[in-house]
Subunit: 181 residues, 2 copies
Amino acid sequence: MTVRRHDPDRRSRIIDVCLDLIAEVGVAGVSHRKVAAAADVPLGSMTYHFTGMDELLREAFGRFSRGVSDGFEQRMSEATDLTTARAAVVEIITRDVFGTHRDLVLTHELYTLAAREPAYRELTNAWMARSRAALERHFDPVTARMLDALIEGLTIHRALDTEAPRPETVTEAVRRITAAG
Amino acid sequence: MTVRRHDPDRRSRIIDVCLDLIAEVGVAGVSHRKVAAAADVPLGSMTYHFTGMDELLREAFGRFSRGVSDGFEQRMSEATDLTTARAAVVEIITRDVFGTHRDLVLTHELYTLAAREPAYRELTNAWMARSRAALERHFDPVTARMLDALIEGLTIHRALDTEAPRPETVTEAVRRITAAG
DNA sequence: GGGCGATGTGTACGAGCGTACGCAGAGTGG
DNA sequence: CCACTCTGCGTACGCTCGTACACATCGCCC
């Protein structure tokens, strides 16, 4: 009948496609059938590779948050002193994190899940812990914590507000937070 | 047959119940039928009072965001000088905004919708504009903007992180941001 | 009192969903 | 070349969904 396709990356590809689909239509709009169609795999593959929608979602968001964290750490590891560290934070806010609409949407979808279900909160916890750790390479723990929150807030407002904060505002905010107490 | 119940607040009650339901099971889990059952109205009332799910959701989140904004303005209007204004902001972060789990979840659900659909972004825009205006009663526009973002970030982290930022951290962050440039 | 809009409701239909499950077919040991 | 196993797939079932629509009931005006 149909050619039995032997691609060992199928499971992984399903996860990627699932993320794309979530970004497009939201967690609410995702179904086994749609993912299967988008990934060009038979419906049966869904139940074969994943015990259910929940497992798929958790793996997808795990992959996503790890990816964002990687970028964050990368960016911070390139800084060598206070000045470059500050600049790195500004870069993260204004370019990295939600550089793409996809990332923005996915982040909020994850937060929404995390707000309701503890299982997903483990993902956000790990994510935030890694962010803070990366920031603590250059700032004291308390400042790192504030910075992390500031990054979060500015990025969200940049995305959800019509008039985004101007670059100078971001730079100034980072300066104030990182100014020695 | 069934007693025709004449309550003129039915439409309004449906909206309230819808918000509760969203908080409980998420936008994804809400359906006409569930709302109808929870509000104790016949299924037909749904289509009678609302053209569709979208209208219901938009009205519900409109009511919600207006309510939160009201609280925000209230709190800020009580401040009289820099010290009390700072304290008010701290209060907002640590107690008001997402004092209840319900508010937290609803906010994220709204953000998620806003991230994808412009129609809902109008709600978040208005919300943020009002927040900023309230802050500008006590702070210059640029500082107000930063503060708004900081409030956002700290509140989210307070909700989605296992180890919430300590109260002193919040106070200190507000102090740094509002310190004269 | 009787007719008639307006208001509100019950029901039925078709679409889309997750999941279970029987079965095809490739690989392998004899 | 056969038999058996294990990977992977197609299909069908039962359910929930949004929506349309025919109909009941109320208040009002003549």
